[in-house]
Amino acid sequence: MYIFHFFLRGEAMLYSILKSAAVFLLILIGFILILLLPREQEITVFSAFHVEADYPFSFELYKERIQDFTVYIVTEKGLGDARSGRPVSEESAIFVKRSIKIILPAFMVSMLLGTLMGALQFYRRKKFSGKLQNFLSWLFSSIPDFFLFIAIQYLLILLMQQGLPYFKLYGHENWYSFLLPLISLSVFPFLHMSRFTSAALENEMGEEYVRTTYAKGLGDFKALLHMLWNCWSPILNQAQLVMLYILSSLPIIEKLAGYNGAGKELLFSITSNDEIKALSLMLPFLFIMFITIILSQIAKFWLMPKGRA
């Protein structure tokens, strides 16, 4: 009987993963279609002093570009070579690897520490320290990450003028260069998770099972554990949002930091109308989002009691 049940759950899980995969494919096609909208300028030279630039935009051109693109993908059996002669995918992999160094820790910090911090905040909600934490996390979550980054830079520059040992604030060459972007990038999702967890726990306060826990003679801590176990669904739902937030802010922060990662390159390739490169850098991002969604779904099936998933 149990095995049968497990089988059913497995089937439900597979179904939901397949559904997510289909959605992912649809979104990928949608993104490529947006990317391929004609945006190149056509320069006609009439004479040495008469040059006209025009942006032709018509449906035929759009169709032609889509055809060109598919032919290109088919003939190159991939994304082809970059201007430097190396395959585009190989070149992008270098940038993506650099960005992963920021994305993964930021995600982990936000999800794990954020949830923990939220539980702690809930646990101390009646004490002064808990209230202070609540206020501070609300205050800091209003601060945009780009300002946080600039403010940290400014502060460090001022401190260095006062005698703090010098270290490089920009670039990606040093082993510590990813730390500053990482910090300014993870503050908001971390606080968001902490606030969300605490709010989710507060919603569970009036549930019957909490009373049962106390009736069994278990303490506050055990009750909190029970409640946390019931909050997994909304908490795991936030994983996608946290990842999206990290990926949206990554390009700006990378550009500000002079950190040569995929985000910075993506911005550059979009402004210079290099669709193939933009696609090769955006694909990993989309894929990371997809993996996040799949993993959070699997985690939900694992953690949640039967019937509530």
Partner: protein, 285 residues
């Protein structure tokens, strides 16, 4: 207690801002032979930018334009989102599926990337009404999310008894919307909108770093190339050169970003204040 104080003072904060705008209506345009970007000093509390303009007055003068832009975008977003969410709630002609798909797209691709891709399209680049189109694009970019939120509210309200009463009384869909849904939605909508003001400000800041602004003019340069030229003094614009400035006169991006942070904080305090105001009214305690 502190939170309560700020909460009640919150609604008045935006007006404080506005009064300040009127008082200091001077733009300090003095170009000394010394290199123009001056660091923050006693004379220029925030320092000056590269053409020697006082950053503090620049920020205060730019506030009006910036806040107006933010308000326009948010207003536009909600005027589109409310009808769409109502239609989606009614499941009219597959609107709900359309909304779901749009939200799926937005939950994968960062808004800033979408806005960048759309804003650089030729039809929007070349028209004389570029500011208008850009307002529309930025407003539309996050519109599905707002619509989804409002749709959920609709779904929740429509399960209440008095809605059935309205239907039984023979109210038309419009009347149902106007007199049965809207009064109850109003408070929630207001809170959402004020919260969104902060989000729009954040997005505008991000776009500022990338170099996309609402008020841009397209000018043909010597090489026959089209270039975007900025002639506004709104805050995001001051962030455009941030990548160069951050290595030298870091105060130039710092203070506009600081002003944006303050504005976002104000909007959030305002939203919090409204929220507690409305919930108090409902509780009767």
């Amino acid at each position: 207690m502190l939170l309560l104080a700020i909460t009640f003072a919150g609604p008045y904060l935006p007006f404080v801002d506005r009064e300040l705008t009127k008082i200091t209506y001077i733009l300090n345009e003095d170009k000394k032979p010394v290199i123009p970007p001056y660091p923050p000093s006693e004379e220029y509390i925030f320092g000056t930018d590269k053409s020697g303009r006082d950053l503090l007055s620049l920020i205060i003068l730019g506030a009006k334009e910036t806040i107006l832009l933010v308000a326009c975008i948010t207003g536009l977003r909600y005027t589109l989102a409310i009808p769409l969410s109502f239609l989606a709630h009614k499941k009219w002609m597959g609107t709900h599926l359309f909304l779901k798909w749009l939200n799926g797209l937005l939950s994968y691709i960062p808004t800033i990337i979408i806005v960048m891709l759309l804003a650089m399209l030729p039809p929007f680049l070349l028209t004389e009404h570029r500011p208008l189109f850009l307002l529309l694009i930025i407003g539309l970019a996050e519109m599905p999310r707002a619509a989804e939120m409002i749709k959920l509210e609709f779904d929740q309200i429509s399960s209440k008894e008095y809605i059935y009463g309205g239907i039984a009384a023979g109210a038309s869909p419009y009347r149902l919307f106007r007199t049965y849904y809207l009064p109850f939605l109003f408070s929630k909508l207001l809170v959402y909108m004020v919260t969104d003001l902060g989000k729009v400000m954040f997005l505008l800041g991000q776009l500022g770093f990338v170099g996309i602004f609402i008020s841009q003019d397209l000018v043909q340069s010597m090489g026959g190339d089209w270039q975007l030229v900025n002639n506004s003094i709104s805050w995001p614009m001051m962030l455009m050169k941030a990548f160069e400035d951050i290595r030298g006169p870091i105060w130039i991006p710092f203070f506009p970003a600081f002003a944006m942070t303050c504005a976002i904080l104000t909007f959030n305090i305002f939203a919090q204040g409204l929220k507690s105001f409305f919930t108090k009214k409902v509780r009767y305690i």
